[in-house]
């Protein structure tokens, strides 16, 4: 009772950041509710993850079973449904990630749970957690309350909280899997890594974009290095593709491509209407331009007004340091 459960997320031998983020958030909620934070870990031979999450939770429920070698939403759903019945937590948090969104809504339907997705913070009203989420691409915040009885279910947006140092020492309890046999109507086949080589900038998650401000072909290695550290693809304004610094299929804009990366770093691009049209859908835009009046800044989330030749090399170095 009053506990907050968190579904640990991992893939290909790595615990995903969202797990500790959720636990951090859960600890805050559990404190208000006067309950404990319980991490639920499903996997096969992932003892080290159990240990890691125990630093952020009061208890870890760990099901160690080859059936959970790889993620399968159907299996997770069955196990969580059973655990909810057994433990009756107040709230279950699942990542608003490609794993979480593949499972949580179905679990909510099956167990008739009050369910709210893409939550980034909780407010409290009469001791009850009120999830806060966003509508309209982040332009509007919404408080959406759970009605009825717990358990409640929420998927949690990535990177909503900063994770600190471990502050707890939860016990790790290995429990039996409620799932006794494999599921055949949905099977995991394999992971496929993105092909390297032919880049399709419309699918890129991170883009470093260059414009006329880069001046010459011989300056391209400088931005290429930055792109490399960021694991980004390169693209540019028409000025850059016209000059031959980049192939034509890397042009962003009305007569080029429309891109929607998570991060768009515009370097030496003024932000002409024809260019903005192709990249305004980027989630976060960073612009480096020496002209404070450049229209690109009107679309940017972060702006650096300076000489790009001074900023970019240092930025690359600092990123290298930070990323180790």
């Amino acid at each position: 009772m009053s506990d907050v459960f968190v579904l640990a997320e991992h893939r290909q031998g790595e615990l995903r950041d969202i797990t500790l983020e959720m636990l951090t958030l859960a600890n805050g909620v559990a404190e208000k509710l006067g309950g404990n934070t319980v991490a639920v870990l499903l996997g096969s031979g992932v003892d080290s993850f159990a240990e890691k999450v125990s630093g952020y939770s009061d208890k870890v429920l760990y099901i160690d079973d080859p059936l959970f070698e790889d993620y399968n939403s159907e299996k997770y759903q069955r196990v969580l449904a059973a655990l909810l019945d057994d433990y009756k937590p107040t709230l279950l948090m699942v990542g608003h990630t490609t794993q979480g969104v593949d499972m949580a809504p179905a679990l909510a339907v099956e167990k008739q749970l009050p369910f709210i997705s893409d939550v980034f913070e909780f407010e409290f009203e009469d001791g009850k957690p009120i999830p806060v989420r966003q509508f309209y691409g982040g332009k509007v915040n919404a408080n959406v309350a759970f009605k009825g009885d717990p358990p409640y279910l929420a998927t949690i947006r990535e990177a909503s909280v900063e994770v600190g140092e471990p502050s707890k020492q939860g016990s790790v309890e290995k429990i039996d899997s409620p799932l006794k046999e494999d599921i055949d109507y949905r099977r995991f086949i394999e992971y496929i890594e993105a092909e390297v080589g032919d880049v399709d900038i419309t699918q890129s998650e991170i883009l470093v974009a260059v414009g006329r401000g880069v001046r010459e072909d011989k300056n391209m290695p400088m931005v290429e290095e930055l792109a490399q550290v960021l694991k980004a693809d390169l693209c540019g304004s028409r000025a850059a593709t016209d000059a031959g610094w980049l192939p034509h299929d890397r042009q962003v804009g009305t007569s080029g491509k429309t891109v929607k990366p998570k991060l768009y770093l515009a370097i030496g691009i003024s932000g002409a209407f024809q260019h903005l049209a192709g990249m305004k859908g980027a989630k976060t835009i960073v612009a480096i331009n020496k002209d404070p009046e450049a229209p690109i800044f009107a679309e940017a989330d972060y702006g650096i007004v300076d000489d790009l030749f001074k900023v970019v090399p240092v930025l690359t170095e600092k990123l290298k340091e930070l990323k180790g």
């Binding site: 893939r11 993620y71 399968n72 939403s73 490609t98 969104v101 593949d102 499972m103 949580a104 809504p105 179905a106 909510a108 339907v109 009050p114 369910f115 997705s117 893409d118 966003q134 509508f135 309209y136 691409g137 332009k139 509007v140 915040n141 919404a142 959406v144 009605k147 998927t155 990177a159 109507y185 995991f188 086949i189 394999e190 992971y191 993105a194 998650e205 929607k260 998570k262 305004k280 859908g281 976060t284 960073v286 612009a287 989330d301 972060y302 702006g303 650096i304 007004v305 300076d306 000489d307 001074k310 900023v311 970019v312 240092v314 930025l315 600092k318 990123l319 340091e321 930070l322 990323k323």
Partner: protein, 262 residues
């Protein structure tokens, strides 16, 4: 193959200034422009491509007002065979699980092999309707699909995960897929085609036709309640980073790495 594809009409708010209306629980949409939801548009294209490659029938389903008809006709012009629009003001638009119930009420009475939805609606960002729909229908599903293959009675779906990784899952049909943008390149619906599509069937149904009661899908019976909307304080204007070039670079690097932007 009988394919059902669910589409939604959403406002494009990327450039609009948003005002909360007097109820405090909705936005003033009078100056928005509307279009088919982005991911749904890809789902329509994928459905039509599957039909073109394997034969079958594509039916478009939309829960929404009459204004959505243009967008539905566009989907029919591209190659959809018929459409159903579920129009009933009693349906709670802020609960994806209830919406799933409405869609399921219609689909489960039909013969279907595949149901497709977009993976996310651009207005509310729930990312929940399609997966909830699968559970209502009692069939397997895969979310965030960016490639589809078929082999004797089964579908292999590639799910797009974080960081460019794909997960391939195999499911028995019928199944529900929520489609990710970028799975294909949607075709253009020429105006003459849209006009010609006036001849295709577009049925309009309400809750009574579907045989579900208001109780099941109205706001009162929802397990969640939208309390209030408000404009977040952080304005979207650029945050300018100050200092010497090196300092700026350092601050920016920190923001990128620690702010989860990468």
């Amino acid at each position: 193959m009988n394919i059902f594809v669910c589409v939604k009409r959403v406002p494009d708010t990327s450039e609009a200034e948003i005002k909360i209306d007097e109820t405090g629980r909705d936005v003033d949409s009078s100056r928005f422009s509307f279009d088919i939801n982005d991911a749904d548009n890809y789902a329509v294209e994928e459905a039509i491509r599957i039909k073109e490659a394997r034969g079958g029938n594509v039916q478009v389903i939309c829960a929404g007002p009459q204004d959505a008809d243009v967008m539905i006709r566009m989907a029919l012009a591209k190659g959809g065979d018929s459409a159903v629009r579920i129009d009933d003001p009693r349906i709670n638009k802020n609960d994806p699980l209830q919406m799933a119930k409405v869609l399921a009420a219609y689909i489960k009475e039909q013969e279907y092999d595949l149901v497709m939805t977009g993976c996310m609606a651009n207005d509310n960002w729930f990312m929940a309707t399609g997966v909830a729909l699968a559970e209502e229908l009692g069939v397997p599903h895969a979310a965030m699909v960016n490639q589809v293959e078929f082999l004797d009675g089964k579908v292999k779906a590639h799910r797009e995960l974080e960081g460019g990784l794909s997960e391939v899952v195999e499911m028995e049909l019928p199944a529900v897929l929520t489609i990710q943008t970028g799975i294909n390149e949607p075709r253009y619906a020429p105006i003459r085609g849209i006009r010609a599509a006036q001849k295709k069937e577009l049925k309009v149904l309400n809750l009574d036709d579907l045989g579900i009661s208001e109780e099941e899908v109205s706001e009162n019976s929802s397990l969640i309640e939208l309390q209030k909307l408000y404009i977040p304080e952080v304005v979207s204007k650029a945050e300018f980073i100050e200092g010497e070039p090196e300092e700026k670079a350092q601050i920016m690097a920190d923001k990128l790495v620690k702010g989860g932007l990468l």
